[in-house]
């Protein structure tokens, strides 16, 4: 871990108002922790004891009672007596599977996929993620912090610090595989992608997440780096040359029966790269929860991007195998 990342992480922990008052379930119970913990004031009309997380509703572990909340987070305790007790329920900030929501992995839970990053529930409602293989060329570390759960809503921020220079240099070469011209001067680039997540429960056991992101990048040294003009790539790398890019989007996810899940997302990227000002991506995936520690998912992604010469639309299959420990 680089010094900057470590400092960022420490600052997040120290700045966290409820850091010592974690509401995450212990690792052993992580796979069965409900999204919404029962509370003394819960008068939910829902028949089930509590809505289970979408990916967690199947399997024998689902019958295990949820862990009792040990400490009420101060942010929730300080809330005035609610009029609508449904809205005022305290909400757990962890979920057993990582996702594009405000929830974080429970403490000690480790998750890795073929394509998705390695994620780890650090406790204190923090989740770390990185891509170990890619780190060899592009060191990166993301910290997601679930800050607040209230009335069924959860708010989190995610901060991903990355140093893409090594990867860009590896792509800058003569001949086949030269994504970037070999004579390109690639500067030292430090990029920080900051995202804010707001997750709300919708209907029964479905979750809608709104997210807003801002990527900032600074570079040191002479640069002749140009953009990589491809859908999926340009929206994520435009900040390397233009120093800033933005994004916002929505994710909807939930269960499909007992063992399947679905996910749908729509993201809009805003860039300041010449005539390329925006990109839109949307994906739909169906997951199958094989066990509490293994799931598979497959779907399709549509990516549209304005590019310097016009625009391109890609339709790509996507699939992943995800293990948790």
């Amino acid at each position: 871990m680089s010094g900057s990342v470590a400092m960022l992480f420490q600052a997040l922990v120290l700045l966290s108002p409820e850091a010592p008052l974690e509401v995450s379930a212990p690792p052993a119970a992580a796979a069965v922790e409900p999204l919404v913990t029962e509370s003394p004031v819960d008068e939910s009309p829902v028949d089930e004891p509590a809505p289970a997380p979408p990916v967690d509703g199947a399997g024998p572990e689902a019958e295990v009672p949820p862990p009792a909340q040990e400490v009420v987070p101060p942010l929730l305790a300080e809330v005035p007596e609610p009029v609508d007790t449904e809205v005022a329920r305290p909400v757990a900030l962890t979920a057993p599977w990582s996702s594009s929501t405000a929830y974080v992995l429970p403490q000690g839970r480790l998750e890795v996929g073929v394509f998705q990053p390695l994620c780890y529930g650090l406790g204190h409602n923090l989740e770390l993620s990185t891509r170990p293989l890619l780190d060899l060329l592009m060191p990166s570390l993301a910290v997601k912090k679930a800050w607040l759960g209230f009335g069924g809503a959860v708010v989190a921020t995610r901060h991903n610090l990355m140093y893409p220079t090594g990867l860009l240099l590896a792509l800058s070469r003569e001949g086949t595989g030269g994504i970037i011209a070999h004579d390109t001067r690639v500067p030292h680039i430090l990029a920080l992608n900051n995202e804010v997540y707001l997750t709300l429960p919708v209907a029964r056991r479905h979750r809608l997440t709104a997210k807003v992101g801002l990527m900032l990048a600074m570079s040191v040294g002479r640069s002749t780096l140009t953009t990589i003009d491809l859908p999926l790539v340009l929206p994520r790398t435009a900040a390397y040359t233009e120093h800033v890019s933005g994004a916002f989007g929505f994710d909807l996810e939930g269960p499909l029966g007992r063992s399947f899940t679905y996910g749908f997302d729509l993201d809009l990227f805003m860039m300041n790269s010449g005539t390329s000002t925006f990109a839109v991506e949307s994906s739909g995936v169906v997951g199958f929860v094989v066990s509490a520690d293994f799931r598979v998912q497959a779907g399709v992604k549509v990516a549209y991007s304005e590019l310097p010469f016009g625009s391109l639309t890609w339709v790509l299959p996507q699939a992943d195998l995800i293990w948790a420990f």
Partner: protein
Amino acid sequence: MLYRAAAPKPAPTAVTELLVMTYNIEFAGARLRFFYECNGDRGLMTEDEVHRHLEGLAAKINQVDPDILLLQEADVEAKRSAYVDEVQWLLDHTSFNYGAYASQWKADFVPSDGLGRIDSGNAILSRYPIDHAERLALALSKEDGAATRYFYLKRNILRARVELPEAADLWLANMHAEAFSKDDIRVEHIRTFGSVMTELADQGYWVVGGGDFNTVPPASTQVAGFADDCSDARFENDDYTGEEHYLDALYASFQEAIPLGDYADDNTPYFSFTGDAAVGWNRRLDYLFTSGTFDPGSGLVHQSEARGGFDTLPLSDHAPVSARLTVQR
């Protein structure tokens, strides 16, 4: 693809003769040494470089002020030339009003040498309206694998018809023949070009065709071992041995801008290519043929101040070739 100048310029209402020119502009690369060339290292140009090089090309074109211009290696949406639409730029900075373009190398993303998006090809610019244009595909090299063929050049003949005031319509054919393959694809391209010209001429149409044929004329005194050869270029050095008669049929059927006898007397004034500006022009690769009549003595390879009134060595690796055409009514 048809083009129009952003601001149309007045064209003559009657035409007594036409000045026709062919010019391989090397995508406005001027004399930068690109990665595939001898001692080359450059990958992409900046927008400023492209505009500066286009200004040089436009200055030469405006100095000649042709009525018809056949362009080869014109980029329209290519990362290597900073996405400048060179056809539109030249239309807007010369006396041409109309253009037609056919891609010969087009790919959303070439994952090699940082090329990325590429769209480069042949174009025809004209003072007079182009009312028809079509792209005639040429055969692909047989020596390339499937992946190379997918990403590599798809050469073509751009055929167009120009409406002339008070004169017969003029058909044009513009080709950039295969340059690098060692199989017989280049002679096949030249044969196809001859067929296109002959077909039009046999139907009684008036036709001018030309371009960069990537081979030397008959009566060339040197066909290999050129002074701009090197050992570090991506492609092998040019060797035209055995190609001395590739153009015989064209010379037999059509009039060329430079009479073969003049070329045989002295090759040097008609050289139109060099890979190294320091070496100077050292072979002829660019041609203009017609089924009509070029004015005697009007054919010119614009090599320098002395021959064409402009030093063209800094502008491209090719020199333009022009000739004055007698108009058919």
